[in-house]
C-alpha cells in the first residue's frame, strides 16, 4: 500500500537526515521503524506525509501510496489525501490539538472539510469513534477542551480524530512515548485492535524495542538516515544480523533474562551527524567488527526471505562467529 524506495531528505545541504531509506507497509500490517534519536525516523514519516519544514529537500526513487505517486501530487491534492486516506498522530497530542476548540468541533471539522458531511452526522461519527477507542461517556468528552483531558485520553482523541475519515494508512510517530506504561499498553492494544478490525496499515515510529517486539509485523531498523536491517519481527529478534541491531538489543534490560547487577551491553560513542556525500558504513566508528572495507560501498545482503541487512559482513557471519 505504501511503497517507499530510496528516500532522501537533506536540510540546507548540511545534513543528510535520510539517505536512501526504503520500506513498505501493506494493508492490515504494522511496520515499525525503530532507531535512536537523530536516526531520521521522524523525518522519514514527515517526508511521507509531505510535512517537512521549509528548507528541506525530499527526493525518492519511488514514493507511492495506494498506486498514487506522492512525488508528483500537488500540494492541494496531497493535503486532501492527508487526514483522509492517510492520517498521522504525533508523540505529544497537545501540539496537534488546538487548545481553543472543543474535542468535538475539532473532530467534526476533519470530516466536514474532507467529506462535506453534515454536522449532526459528523457528531454521531465522532461519538462512535470515541467509543471505539475506549473512551467512556463520549458525549461528555466531545464538549471538553484538550487541556481537560489526561495524556492518555488526549492520545485516544488524536487516534479517534485520525480515524474520522476511515484512513487506510496510519502513521504514528512515537504515539506512546510521553505516556505512562499502563496507558501505553492500553493505547497499543487499541492500535492492534484497529489494525485487525479495520484492516488499517500502520507505520509506527518508536525507539522502544519492547513496543516493536509486541506490536510489529515487520521491523526496519534505522541508523544515521539508512534502513540498516529489515525483517519480520520474530526473525529480527531471533537472528539479528546487523551489528547495530545486535548492539541495540543487548542494551535493553529484560526482567528475568538479563542478570541483575551485571553490566548491560552498550554501544560506545554517539550517533554521528552525516554530511551529504558521505561514503561507506555510518556505523563503522562504533562497530566492533569494523574493517577497512567498511569505508567503501556497503552491500545490502539478504539473510533469509524478507530479511536483509546493510553490512560488509557475510550473511552467515553470526553462525560462523558462534561456531568459532
Amino acid at each position: 500500500m505504501l511503497d517507499v524506495r530510496g528516500l532522501r531528505v537533506e536540510f540546507g545541504g548540511r545534513t543528510a537526515a535520510v539517505r536512501g531509506a526504503s520500506l513498505r507497509v501493506s494493508k492490515g500490517e504494522t511496520h515499525c521503524l525503530v532507531g535512536e534519536s537523530g536516526c531520521g525516523k521522524s523525518v522519514t514519516a514527515l517526508a511521507v506525509m509531505n510535512l517537512l519544514a521549509r528548507g528541506a529537500k525530499r527526493d525518492a526513487e519511488v514514493l507511492s501510496f495506494a498506486g498514487q505517486d506522492l512525488l508528483r501530487l500537488s500540494d492541494s491534492r496531497m493535503s486532501r489525501l492527508r487526514g483522509d486516506r492517510m492520517a498521522m498522530i504525533f508523540q505529544e497530542p497537545m501540539t496537534s490539538l488546538n487548545p481553543a476548540y472543543t474535542v468535538g468541533s475539532q473532530m467534526t471539522e476533519v470530516l466536514r472539510r474532507h467529506r462535506g458531511t453534515p454536522r449532526a452526522q459528523a457528531v454521531d461519527r465522532a461519538a462512535e469513534l470515541l467509543g471505539l477507542v475506549g473512551i467512556t461517556a463520549p458525549g461528555m468528552r466531545l464538549g471538553q477542551y484538550p487541556h481537560q483531558l489526561s495524556g492518555g485520553l488526549r492520545q485516544r482523541v488524536m487516534i479517534a480524530m485520525a480515524l474520522m475519515c476511515d484512513p487506510e494508512l496510519l502513521v504514528a510517530d512515537e504515539p506512546t512515548t510521553a505516556l505512562d506504561v499502563t496507558v501505553q499498553a492500553q493505547i497499543l492494544r487499541l492500535l492492534a485492535t484497529l489494525r485487525r478490525d479495520l484492516g488499517l496499515g500502520i507505520l509506527l515510529i518508536t525507539h522502544d524495542l519492547g513496543v516493536v517486539a509486541r506490536v510489529a509485523d515487520r521491523v526496519s531498523v534505522m541508523y544515521a538516515g539508512e534502513v540498516v536491517e529489515s525483517a519480520p519481527t520474530a526473525e529480527l529478534f531471533a537472528a539479528p544480523r546487523h551489528p547495530y541491531t545486535r548492539g541495540l538489543l543487548r542494551c535493553v534490560p529484560v526482567p528475568g533474562k538479563t542478570r541483575r547487577g551485571e553490566p548491560l551491553g552498550s554501544i560506545p560513542g554517539v550517533v554521528p551527524r552525516i554530511p551529504p556525500g558521505f561514503r561507506g558504513c555510518a556505523f563503522r566508528d562504533r562497530c566492533e567488527h569494523a574493517a577497512p572495507n567498511c569505508a567503501g560501498a556497503v552491500p545490502r545482503r539478504p539473510a533469509g526471505p524478507e530479511h536483509e541487512f546493510l553490512c560488509t559482513l557475510p550473511a552467515d557471519w553470526t553462525l560462523r562467529e558462534a561456531a568459532a
Partner: protein, 287 residues
C-alpha cells in the same frame, strides 16, 4: 530530532543584516562620541555671527568649511552634532547602568527568594509604574533647575521598572531549573548561586531590555531638552538643537533635519541591535 527539523528560515540572513546595520549605526555614533573634539576642526561653542545659518554641503552655496552648515549663532553644526552624540550616549549609557543596577537587583532578589521579598519587589514595581515618568522629570527639573547630572539621576531612578520585571520573571524560570537545584544541593551560597548560576543565564534578556531603555532614555532626554528642562544651553544636546532650530525651520530646514535625523537614526539603530539580540536569544534557546 527537533534540531534536524528546524532548517534555517528564509528571514535569517535579513535579520542578521538588520542587526549588523544597527551595530554599525550605534558604533559610528559611539565612535563620534568618544573621539569628539579630535575629529572636528571647529569648536562647537565658538560663535561667528558673520557666518549664521551657512547651508550644508548638499545645498547650493554649501562648502567644505562647514559640511553640515552652521546654526543661528554661526556655530559649526557638525561639531555640535558630534558633541550632541556624546551627550546622548553618555545619558543613554549612564541611565541604563543606574536603572539596570536598581532594576536587576530588585528583580533578581524578588524572583530568587520569593515570599515576602518578592511581595516587596512587586509592590515597588507597582508603585514605580504608577509614577508618570515625564511629569515627574519635568517637575523635578523645574524645581531644582536643569543640569546634566540631574537629568541622568532622574531618568536612572525612574526607568528601572522594565529591568525589574524582566529580571524577576527570568530569574523565576531559571531558579526552577535543575542546575540551580544542583548548586543548592552542592551547598553553594545564595550569593554565589545568584552570581554564577542565575545572572549569566538571564544576562542576554537584560541586554535586550538595556537597548530598549537606552533608546527610551535618549528620546526622553531629547524631549526634556526640547522643552528647555533637560541639558542646559549652550551644551549641544540633540533635543536642544531641535528646539533652537524650530524658529528657523521654514527658511533653513536643515537645522532641524540634521539633529532630527541623527536622533532617529541612533534610536533606530539601538532598536535594531535589540531585535537582533532577541533573535539570537531565541535561536540559542531552541538549540
Amino acid at each position: 530530532m527537533s534540531e534536524a527539523l528546524t532548517a534555517p528560515g528564509d528571514g535569517a540572513t535579513g535579520r542578521r543584516l538588520a542587526f549588523l546595520l544597527g551595530a554599525l549605526i550605534v558604533g559610528v555614533v559611539a565612535l563620534a562620541a568618544v573621539l569628539g573634539p579630535s575629529i572636528t576642526p571647529h569648536d562647537p561653542f565658538a560663535q561667528d555671527l558673520g557666518k549664521r545659518l551657512v547651508v550644508p554641503f548638499w545645498m547650493e552655496g554649501g562648502g567644505r568649511e562647514h559640511p553640515l552648515g552652521t546654526d543661528q549663532l554661526g556655530r559649526d553644526y557638525l561639531a555640535r552634532l558630534i558633541y550632541g552624540a556624546r551627550i546622548s550616549m553618555v545619558i543613554g549609557v549612564l541611565t541604563v547602568v543606574a536603572s539596570g543596577l536598581i532594576g536587576t537587583t530588585l528583580g533578581v532578589l524578588g524572583g530568587f527568594f520569593g515570599g515576602r521579598i518578592d511581595d516587596l519587589v512587586l509592590f515597588a514595581i507597582t508603585c514605580r509604574l504608577s509614577i508618570p515618568v515625564v511629569l515627574v522629570a519635568l517637575a523635578v527639573v523645574g524645581l531644582m533647575g536643569n543640569s546634566f547630572t540631574l537629568v541622568i539621576l532622574v531618568l536612572g531612578l525612574l526607568l528601572w521598572d522594565r529591568f525589574a520585571v524582566v529580571a524577576r520573571s527570568t530569574t523565576m524560570q531559571v531558579r526552577n531549573l535543575d542546575y540551580v537545584s544542583a548548586a543548592w544541593c552542592a551547598g553553594s551560597s545564595s550569593f554565589s548561586m545568584l552570581v554564577r548560576e542565575v545572572l549569566p543565564n538571564i544576562a542576554t534578556h537584560l541586554a535586550v531590555v538595556a537597548t530598549l531603555e537606552m533608546a527610551l532614555a535618549i528620546l526622553l532626554e531629547a524631549a526634556l531638552s526640547f522643552l528647555g528642562l533637560g541639558v542646559p544651553p549652550p551644551l549641544p544636546s540633540w533635543g536642544l538643537m531641535i528646539a533652537e532650530a524650530k524658529d528657523y525651520m521654514f527658511f533653513s530646514p536643515w537645522v532641524i533635519m540634521v539633529p532630527g535625523v541623527a536622533l532617529f537614526a541612533l534610536v533606530f539603530g539601538i532598536n535594531l541591535l535589540g531585535d537582533g539580540l532577541r533573535e539570537m536569544l531565541g535561536t540559542q534557546d531552541a538549540r
